[in-house]
Amino acid sequence: MYAQMVQSEATQDDPEKLAAFQARIDAGEKIEPKDWMPEGYRKTLIRQIGQHAHSEIVGQLPEGNWITRAPTLERKAILLAKVQDEAGHGLYLYCAAETMGVSRDELTEMLLDGRMKYSSIFNYPTLNWADIGAVGWLVDGAAIMNQVPLQRTSFGPYSRAMIRICKEESFHARQGFDAIRKMAEGTSAQKKMAQDAVNRLWFPALMMFGPSDKDSVHSAQSMAWKIKINTNDELRQKFVDQTVPQIEFLGLDLPDPTIKWNEERGHYDYSDPDWSEFFEVIKGNGPCNVDRLAARNKAWDDGAWVRDGLLAHSRKKAARQHAAE
């Protein structure tokens, strides 16, 4: 999930309108941008879609970190294609958010000055080549867990963006698994890289689903509105159940020694991530928060003359066309 701890807004609308709105959602209807919607629904969705979009954009950085060091031409091409897809996802999501009356530039400003967040996972570094495989397999894999149900979310533009994004994300997860499999089956040095990547990224991947349900204060309203479909713990369990056999298939050690199949529950038991670390990362104290935001700010500031230049040109061109008519 690329949106965590999205605060849902209390809503103070006409109770009759609210009831009719809820009835549409309960009946499985899609809400479209021009339909009436509670202010809280609109604000919560802007926050959630915006956070998701920002995550796609900031998420280019840890993967981009390895493009110039990719070990083969094919791996370089695959990684470029993947990062290009992520930027494209950002674009669809900003468009979905814009249908609710907020511009991409406004959302960008809020990312850059820290008013809006992006997923905690992108505040962790990519330190060896196997991380690129692990990011595709574990991080995109965890994102898919949440995004597949969001294809059924109540807001039409968001749902449609998700359908497209999910297709590409499942390709990303497969290429990630393929890349890390090559490492796990490779030389002892490569296997060591693969193990190191899994050990470092396992708990941050579990954090992507957000805090434990007992501490998740914003879920109930979002679930009623079908902005959120499953609880954090449900999705986390599903991810663990899917991923543990894959780690075993790769012949790697499990990154958490407490992982054990629980016959009675029909699920794997596992340890929670260190939630105090998670809250520190959310507050800005992750290993890469400062550098990631600085990189995005620099790109935006250094690019101001380009945006201004292109805009000035298109105005001149329009004026010339107008004068010629």
């Binding site: 031409l73 090559k182 690019g303 292109l310």
Partner: protein, 253 residues
């Protein structure tokens, strides 16, 4: 020099241009001025790397020593690279990156157009595929150069500075040597000098629309396409690009 040797050198020139420029463009990933540009730059880099796989793949085949495209990309030292210097100069600001792209794309599109008529079918097939991608690269880089040249005072100034910096690297693309003479004789590739006229017409038109002034100097740096003298920048680029292959020889990725 045998025909095979010359053909190998020619293919390295094509493949090293796309490899090194593709690498440079990929350095932008995540840092572009606007999201659409991030996507376009990644897309351009991806095309160039794809073309590298084809050119260097064929180079390895022609050389006949069992080297793959990856071997050629990752296991040669700087003096064995045959790209023009224009491709290896650092990105600079976005304006310089796009100006470099335009000056290269204009040559690339003309060159590929000629190579589509190559006597070697493999060369013609690669050129055919690449030319579709490069037509788009040229359209985009030309539009951006015009937009920024004829934009604000600042964007105009930066684009003129970019052009002044890069212009001395243009001439190398049109220098001919024994390798080229051999390629012309075999009907494989055109004489580089023969592309200049068409290039000048195209570049003058676009730079004119961009309100930029072509420097009044025909001086040209050289040494990239012969390997005699690259810039200091190439070595640094290779340390990064080749690092994993060099540290873990023989590993499969």
């Amino acid at each position: 020099m045998t025909r095979e040797d010359a053909f190998f050198q020619f293919l390295l020139r094509m493949g090293d241009n796309t490899l090194i420029l593709g690498h440079r463009v990929s350095e932008w990933c995540g840092h572009a001025p606007v999201l659409e540009e991030d996507i376009a730059l990644a897309n351009t880099a991806l095309d160039l790397i794809g073309q590298t796989q084809m050119w260097l793949g064929l180079a390895g085949e022609v050389q006949g020593e069992g080297r793959t495209a990856d071997d050629l990309a990752f296991l040669r030292d700087a003096w064995d690279f045959r790209n023009v210097l224009l491709c290896e100069v650092p990105n600079g600001d976005f304006g310089r990156t796009l100006m470099r792209q335009f000056l290269f794309d204009a040559w690339h599109s003309i060159q590929l157009g000629r190579l589509m008529k190559s006597s070697d079918e493999r060369v013609a097939a690669i050129a055919e595929k690449a030319s579709k991608e490069v037509a788009y690269h040229l359209e985009r880089s030309a539009d951006t150069v015009v937009g920024l040249g004829d934009g604000t005072e600042e964007s105009h100034r930066r684009m003129q500075e970019a052009l002044d910096y890069l212009w001395p690297y243009v001439g190398e693309m049109f220098q001919s040597d024994d390798v080229d003479a051999e390629m012309v004789k075999a009907g494989i590739a055109p004489d580089p000098a023969s592309l200049r006229e068409e290039y000048d017409v195209l570049v003058s038109r676009i730079l004119g629309d961009a309100t930029l002034i072509i420097p009044d100097s025909s001086f040209a740096h050289k040494g990239g396409r012969t390997g005699a003298m690259h810039t200091e920048h190439l070595g640094h680029l290779l340390t990064q690009m080749q690092w994993l292959q060099r540290v873990y020889p023989g590993a499969k990725w």
